[in-house]
C-alpha cells in the first residue's frame, strides 16, 4: 500500500508539494527526446518530472514545454492529448512556463511551417521559414553557437547571463512580429528571436540544455523565478 503510494508519480508530486519541494513538469506529448533536458535539470539539483498527466502538470511549480520536429505534428499531438488547454490554463493562472525550441514556437499564435497552423497563442507573433528571409548564402538550418544580444538585461531570467553569451541553436523556422516579447536576439542575416517573454511565459529558440554553462545558468534562473 505504502509502496504503491510512492510509486505513483502523482502521489510523489503531492508529497513533494507538501514538503515544499518545487517541481518542474516537463510536458511529454510524444515530441522529442527529453533525456538531455532532464539531465541538465538533475545536474542543477532541480526536481523535475517528465509527464503527460494533467494533474501532475497542474500541481507542478513550473512547466517546461519542449519539442523537436514539425510544428503541425507537434500541435496536433498536443491537442489530441488535451495538454494544450492544460498548459494554456496554467499559463493564464500565472504559472511560469518555458518553451524550448519547437516548444517556444508553439507558444505563438500561428506557424507557417508547411501550411498554416494555429499555436497556443500565449505570445503575440507568428513562426515563419528562415528561408523566406535569408537571401544570402547562409545555411539553413541555423545550427550552431550564436551570441545573444540581450534587450532587457534586467529581466530575472538573465540573472546569471551576460550580453554576448553564446547559445546553441538548431532550427529552420523563426518567430516574427513579436517585437514586444523580445528579450534577446541573435544575428543570422535576419534578427532571430532567441528568447521571448509575455508575462509569465518564456520561450527559448535555442537549446539551453545544450548551451553549456550559459544554458544551465538560464535554466537555473528560470527555476528561481518567484511567484509574482
Amino acid at each position: 500500500m505504502t509502496r504503491n503510494f510512492f510509486q505513483s508519480t502523482y502521489n510523489k508530486q503531492k508529497l513533494f508539494n507538501l514538503l515544499g519541494v518545487n517541481i518542474i513538469a516537463i510536458v511529454d506529448y510524444g515530441c522529442g527526446n527529453l533525456y538531455s533536458l532532464q539531465c541538465s535539470l538533475n545536474f542543477l539539483n532541480l526536481k523535475s518530472t517528465i509527464t503527460s498527466d494533467p494533474e501532475v502538470i497542474k500541481s507542478a511549480d513550473k512547466i517546461i514545454l519542449p519539442g523537436v520536429g514539425a510544428f503541425g505534428d507537434a500541435v496536433k499531438l498536443l491537442r489530441e492529448s488535451g495538454l494544450d488547454s492544460i498548459v494554456k490554463t496554467e499559463a493564464e493562472k500565472g504559472k511560469y512556463i518555458l518553451g524550448i525550441c519547437l516548444g517556444m514556437q508553439l507558444l505563438f499564435e500561428k506557424s507557417y511551417e508547411y501550411g498554416e497552423h494555429t499555436g497556443l497563442g500565449l505570445i503575440k507573433g507568428e513562426v515563419h521559414p528562415l528561408s523566406n528571409d535569408i537571401k544570402g548564402d547562409l545555411k539553413i538550418p541555423h545550427m550552431g553557437w550564436n551570441a545573444l544580444n540581450i534587450k532587457d538585461i534586467n529581466d530575472p531570467i538573465f540573472k546569471y547571463t551576460k550580453n554576448g553569451d553564446y547559445v546553441y541553436y538548431v532550427h529552420s523556422f523563426y518567430a516574427k512580429n513579436c517585437d514586444k516579447a523580445l528579450l534577446a536576439t541573435s544575428d543570422y542575416e535576419v534578427s532571430v528571436a532567441g528568447l521571448v517573454k509575455s508575462k509569465n511565459v518564456y520561450g527559448a529558440q535555442f537549446h539551453p540544455e545544450k548551451s553549456g554553462d550559459v544554458g544551465l545558468n538560464l535554466l537555473k534562473a528560470f527555476a528561481e523565478l518567484e511567484d509574482r
Binding site: 527526446n33 550552431g144 540544455e209
Partner: protein, 251 residues
Amino acid sequence: MLAKRIIPCLDVRNGRVVKGVNFDGIKDVSSPVDLAKFYNKSGADELVFYDITASYENRGLFTDVLKTVASEIFIPLTVGGGINTLDDFDRVLKCGADKVSVNSGAIKNPALISEAAKKYGDQCVVLSMDIKRVDGKFHIFSTGGRVDTGIDALQWAVNGEQSGAGELVVNSIDTDGVKNGFDLEMLSEIQSRVKIPVIASGGAGKKEDFLELFKAGVADAGLAASVFHFKEININELKEYLKSNDIEMRV
C-alpha cells in the same frame, strides 16, 4: 553570426578512450567521461565520440559511457562508429547523442541517410567521409580508410546533401597524421559544391593550421584528436588565438 567550432574527437574502445595520454588535472586519462569533462571546461564547442569497439557484445559499454557523458556535459554530442541501421541511430540518440555520424554504413546502404533524415531530421545526420587522392581524383575509402571504394568523393558529398545529411565531415587520409595543416584543396572542392556545414578533419598540427583553415573559408568547424589529446594544442588558447585573429569564436 555563427561561431566557428573546435571539436575534439574521442575514440572509444570497450568503454575506454584509446590514445589517452597524461593530462594535468584528470584522474583517469582513458576515462571518456573525465576527458569529456576536461574538454568541456577547455571550451570545446562539441564532442565527437567514435565507437571503435570490435565486438557487438561490448556496444553496451559505449552507450553507458554516452549516457554518463550526456548527464554531465551539456554541449552537442556527435556519435559515430558502427552506425548501420535506424536502430543504431535510435540506440545512441536515446542515450543523449544529438547527431549521428555515418560512414561505412552509408556506403553499404546509401538509403540510410535519407531514412534517418526523414525520421530524425536533417540536423541529426552527419555524413563522415574518408577521402584520398587516387590518380588525381578524390576517392571515398571505407572500413576505417583501408578500402578504396572507387566512389567519387565530390559526387558522394553532393548526393549526401541531397539525401538529407545535415553536415559533412571531410577527413583527408592524405593529410591525416602528417600534422602539416588541413587539406585545403580537398575541402575547397567539397565546400564549393554543398551548402551544409563542412567539418574539416585530418592534418591539424598547430594553432596556425586552424587559422589558415578558417581564413580560407572552406570549413565551419575543425576537428582533431591527437593534437588535443597530447596537449600539443590547448583548446582555450587556440580559441583565444583565433578570436584575436578575427575568427568568430565562442570564448
